[in-house]
Structures are given as C-alpha cells and as structure tokens.
C-alpha cells in the first residue's frame, strides 16, 4: 500500500462525524483536566477512560488521543501561569514560561505553545506515516526471544528515564511486574497471589492502578500543604497574544528543531516526552547566541520543548501500536485500552486493523488542528478554570476517580482496591519511588512472562537463545549500555554533590 492510500484510508475514518465529535470531546476534556494544576496526562487519560468504554475501538482510541493532546497542552498552560506543572514534560516549559507570565507576557506564551504543539505534532505525524510500515516489516520477523529482549530494553529504558535513583526505578519496574502477575496464569491456569480473593483472578486492572498512583496519590500529596496558592489574574487579550516579528522569527527554527528532537526520541521505548522536552531545551540553550536569556522568559525556551513534547507523544504511538511496547505511562494506558478492546498490539495491527491504525494517525492531525481551534479562542476560559480553588476541585476529582474505577467492571471491589493502592502509592511517593516504571511493568509483566516461557520452550531451556539471535542480542546490548551510562552519570552527580558542600565550608 502506498503512502497516499494509507493517508486516504486514515482520513476517511477520522473525518466521519462521530469520530470528529469524539476527537473534539477528547481535546476539550483533556485540556480541562490538564489545566488543573497537579493533574497530568496520565491522570487525565485514566480519569476519562471510562467515558470511552461504550465506544468502538477506533472511536475510543481517537478520543484518548484527543485527551492526551489536550492534557499535554493544558499542562503547559498551568506551568506557564502558575509554575505548577502537571507533568514532568511540561516542567521544562515552566522554566521560561513562568517568567514570561510574570512579565505580563502570558498571552503570547500561551499562543506560541499552541502553535508549537501544532508544528511538533504535524512534523512527527509525517515521520510516523513514513516510518511505521518500515518498522512493522522489521518487527514481523520477531519471535519470542526478540520480543522478550525488546520488552526488557523498554523496561530498562523506562527505569533509566525516570528521574532520580536507578535503584528505586528498577525496584518499581520489578514491583510492577510482580503486580502484573496477580491473577490467573494463562499457561497453567493456576491462580497466583490472589490473597484468597477469587475476584482477583482476573488480575489487577491497570486502570485502577493508574488512577490510584497518578490520581489518588496526587490528591493526597496536594493536601499535605496547608496554604492554597493565590489565584493569578493574568491579563489576556487578543493583541497581547501575538508575538512580535523577532520573536516569531526566532520561534520557527526552535519549533522545527524541537519537533526533530522530540520525534526522534519519542519513538525510542522508554524515552517519551519528558526526556525529549528536556533535551530540546538544552539544544536551544547550546545553540543560542546569548544563552543567558534562558530561564528569564526566552521564547525559544518554551517553543522548542513544547514542540518536542507533542512530537514525542506522537511518535511514541509507533512502538506502542506496532511492537506492543509502550514508551511511557501514557503509552501503557493506550496499550491497555487496546487489549481491553480485544486488539492484540503488535506488527499485525496494521494489516489486521488498517482502519484503526491509519485512522488513529489521521485523527492525531485533526486533534492537533482542533487543539489550535479550541484553545486559542478559549485561553481566557482555561485561565479562569485555574482560579477555581483546590478545596472545591479535589472532592470533584474524587468522584471522577470513584465512578471511573467502579465502571471498569461495575464492581465496588475495584473501588476498595483503589483506596488501598492509593495509600500504597502515597507511601511509595513519599519514599521518592517513581510511579511510571511501575505502570509500565504492570502492563508488560504478563507479556514478558509469556514470551520468556515461549522462548525457552523452543530453545529447550537454553538461555543463550537471547544472545544467539542477533536482534535480541542488540536489544540486550543497548539495555546494558543504558544501565552503564545511567550508573556512570549518577556516580558523577554524586561526586559533584559531595564536592559542593566541601567548597562551601
């Protein structure tokens, strides 16, 4: 199939009235949740996931994509206006966006992030259209050992990408893998780790875990501090939103560079939007003639990371859909949704469900467009949402979490599990353990076990099969390299920290 045929098929699906509506609803709700401080894309998706249960798979995925884009953009809004990033990815945007807001240039910052998102999304989409079939033809030759090693690499990369301590993030990956084992073992039918509760033999729903660790835990953490943040009243009007000519010129290059960085890194398993927006920012600082402007409201400092962020979100779908390996927690949720709708992710998705794959890609472009259309006129509305005090918001969030979890299986038991896991998530987050690696492990756990079993069954228990297959060996080699690099940079940072107090004395 040619590129044009694929595109035509995709837009044919995406441009139906129903799917356009789902996309619009997703973008609006996603932005709404994303704007709320402290709630990121993962929370937005898991909170709004129940709304997609009634839809057919294509519609559900299109709506989720809309939610993701909206949430990413909304996250930048709260970063810029309040310096309260909802996601680590949008934390970078706060570096220069918040100073801009303080200088009274919030309007232009919000306008430019909307444009940058659009540019990032469109650039990455082109890359995906071209690259996806190529990756698929490569992946079709994969057997169980290759899949196992690829998932291994994905988990290692996710652990390395999580900020902080490698020990903790590896621990969280392993904990996630173990939690994924709860329930019925597919091969033997044995029930494992069900704590005497037969209802657990279906396994722990990833939605419940995501809502507990990203929703409930966040609410508990936000209530720790007593003082409410003072609502900000930025002055936003149409004229204040347009950039002047030099700013516009500076931004074009930044947006394209950001898209390139984000698009390339987003496709790597485990890298995801966070890392790519950081790297895009660093690239801009390095390339700039006067790097001292950064951190004080430089336009490039918001445009490049925002473009990278969106581009990475887009290319991140490629490994999720074609290989079944999610790059980050968002990918993990998308993957879980696919499985829930009875679609096995993997290289065969494109040939078996072409309307789903190409339709989804096309709807990404439409989501980007809608984002622009919805957000620029409504920036003022989003800003007003920010002035709702948290004491009113969080009880409403609690209802969304409870109803959402309840509707996963219409079972009050899941709601109880949400409560318990929320407390566990709070404890872990107090101990600085990142939640994203856990979610990734949870979803990959059963698949990893299955592929490990199959690989060793075929090789008759010979573990060297993972090294004699060249593709698998390469994956494991990269994984080893990632570990070594992370450890080395960690040791270097510790040394520096150690030197710093000594010189201060």
């Amino acid at each position: 199939m040619g590129l044009l045929e694929n595109a035509a098929l995709g837009f044919g699906v995406a441009l139906t009235w129903n799917n356009l509506l789902y996309c619009l609803i997703g973008v609006v709700f996603g932005t709404f949740v994303g704007v709320l401080p402290g709630l990121g894309a993962v929370t937005a998706i898991s909170m709004l996931l129940p709304f997609t249960f009634g839809l057919e798979p294509v519609g559900a995925l299109i709506m989720l994509t809309g939610i993701l884009y909206g949430a990413l953009y909304g996250g930048s809004t709260s970063s810029i206006l309040l310096n309260m990033p909802g996601t680590p990815a949008s934390a970078v945007v706060a570096l220069d966006g918040y100073p801009m807001a303080q200088q009274g240039r919030a309007g232009v910052a919000l306008f430019m992030t909307a444009i940058a998102s659009f540019v990032g999304g469109c650039t990455a989409l082109l890359a995906v259209f071209v690259a996806a079939p190529w990756i698929v033809s490569f992946a079709l030759s994969f057997g169980a050992p290759e899949y196992f090693s690829m998932m291994f690499l994905g988990l290692v990369a996710a652990a390395a990408a999580a900020s902080g301590d490698l020990f903790r993030s590896i621990g969280m990956v392993l904990l996630g893998l173990l939690m994924g084992l709860i329930g019925m073992d597919i091969v033997s039918g044995a029930r494992r780790f069900i704590f005497g509760m037969p209802i657990l033999s279906e396994g722990l729903s990833f939605i419940v875990v995501a809502m507990a660790f990203f929703g409930l835990t966040e609410v508990i953490r936000n209530l720790e501090t007593k003082n409410e943040s003072p609502p900000l009243k930025p002055n936003i009007n149409w004229r204040g939103m347009l950039p002047n000519r030099t700013e516009a010129r500076q931004s074009i290059g930044s947006a394209l560079r950001g898209s390139g960085v984000g698009g390339a890194l987003g496709a790597l398993p485990g890298a995801g939007p966070t890392i790519s927006s950081f790297i895009a920012y660093m690239v801009e600082v390095r390339l700039s003639r006067n790097p001292e402007r950064f951190g004080k409201g430089a336009m490039e400092g918001i445009v490049a990371p925002e473009a990278a962020n969106n581009a990475a979100a887009q290319t991140g779908y490629v490994p999720t859909l074609t290989l079944g390996i999610p790059g980050d927690a968002v990918g993990a949720l998308i993957l879980g949704t696919l499985i829930m709708h009875g679609i096995a992710p993997g290289p065969r998705v494109i040939s078996q469900h072409p309307e789903l794959f190409w339709g989804l890609l096309a709807s990404m472009l439409i989501a980007n467009l809608l984002l622009l259309v919805v957000n620029i006129p409504f920036i003022g509305v989003w800003v007003r949402i920010l002035s709702i005090p948290y004491r009113i918001l969080y009880p409403a969030i609690m209802i969304f979490l409870c109803v959402g979890v309840f509707s996963v299986a219409n079972s009050p038991f899941h709601v109880m599990v949400l409560g318990g896991l929320g407390a566990v998530g709070y404890l872990l987050s107090k101990l600085d353990c990142p939640a994203s690696p856990l979610l990734l492990g949870l979803i990959l756990g059963p698949m990893m076990e299955e592929n490990l079993r199959r690989a060793l069954l075929i090789s008759r228990g010979d573990f060297t099969v993972f090294l004699t297959s060249p593709v698998s060996a390469v994956f494991l080699g990269i994984a080893a390299l990632v570990v070594v690099l992370t450890v080395v940079s960690g040791i270097r940072r510790r040394r520096q920290n150690r030197r710093a107090p000594a010189t201060a004395e």
Partner: protein
Amino acid sequence: MSEDVGLRVGLFRSKDFVTGVLFAAVGFWFAFTGADYGIGSARRMGPGYFPVVIGGALCLVGLGLILRTSLTRLPRDPTPRLHVWPLFFLTASVVAFGLTINRFGLAVACSACVLLAGAAGSATRWKETVIVALVMTAFSALVFVEFLGLPMRLWR
C-alpha cells in the same frame, strides 16, 4: 570532615534504608509465595518460575539500597513524615463510595465521598463542600447514569 556530616540521620531512619527494607520484604514475599506454585525448569516453566526470579530480583534491589546507604559517607535523607490526616480521610472517602454504591445508590455514595474528602483538607469550608456534594451528585446522575448509561442506580 564530611564523615561527621553523614551521621546526622541514623541508618534506620534514613529514606534509603526504609525503601530498601520495603522492597526486600515485598520481593521476598512474592518469591517465597511463588515458589509454592511450582517452579518447574527453564524449559518447562511452572507458574512459580517468573515470580521467584522477579521477586528475588526485587529483594536484591532492596538489599542493594540497604547496603548503599549503610556504606555511604554522605548525609542521609531522613524518612519523611506521613501526613496521616489527608491519607486517612481520602482513603476513607474512596472506601465509603465503594461500600455504599451498591447498597444505597449513587446519591448516598457521592455525598459520602465528597463529605469525607472535604474532611481531608485543611482549607475546607463546609458550606462550599455541601454544595459541591449536591452538584457532583446531580452531575453524576445526569452524565454517568442518564447520558453514559453506566449501570448505577441513583437510589436504592
């Protein structure tokens, strides 16, 4: 010089130590329980094989954390205090929803959830919270039950 700084927080109260013990204990439990399911061999794995390997690995990671913080000369981070108040009331609010939804219906469950959640925050103004409870109940009835058709009854 820097050796003395390291003794500010005792080993047992350091964040790394507590995390390590937690990981090691959970990993050990999974590995120990998993061993009962039948390990099998690498060629024919039993249902216990993977849990034992992963649980064992988690246990090792935990021990590694303990070892690292025991040997370090750098100042250790203390284990932070848990804020029990919001933790308790927010968990209670979720559990209350779960307990009441099938027995008394959505109206009671929503109200209980919002009011208990309100107790969790220190900035709560009760008049507002009661209004939020009413609005959220009406919203849920309208959107979740009427519009989305989720199988929940308003009253029971």
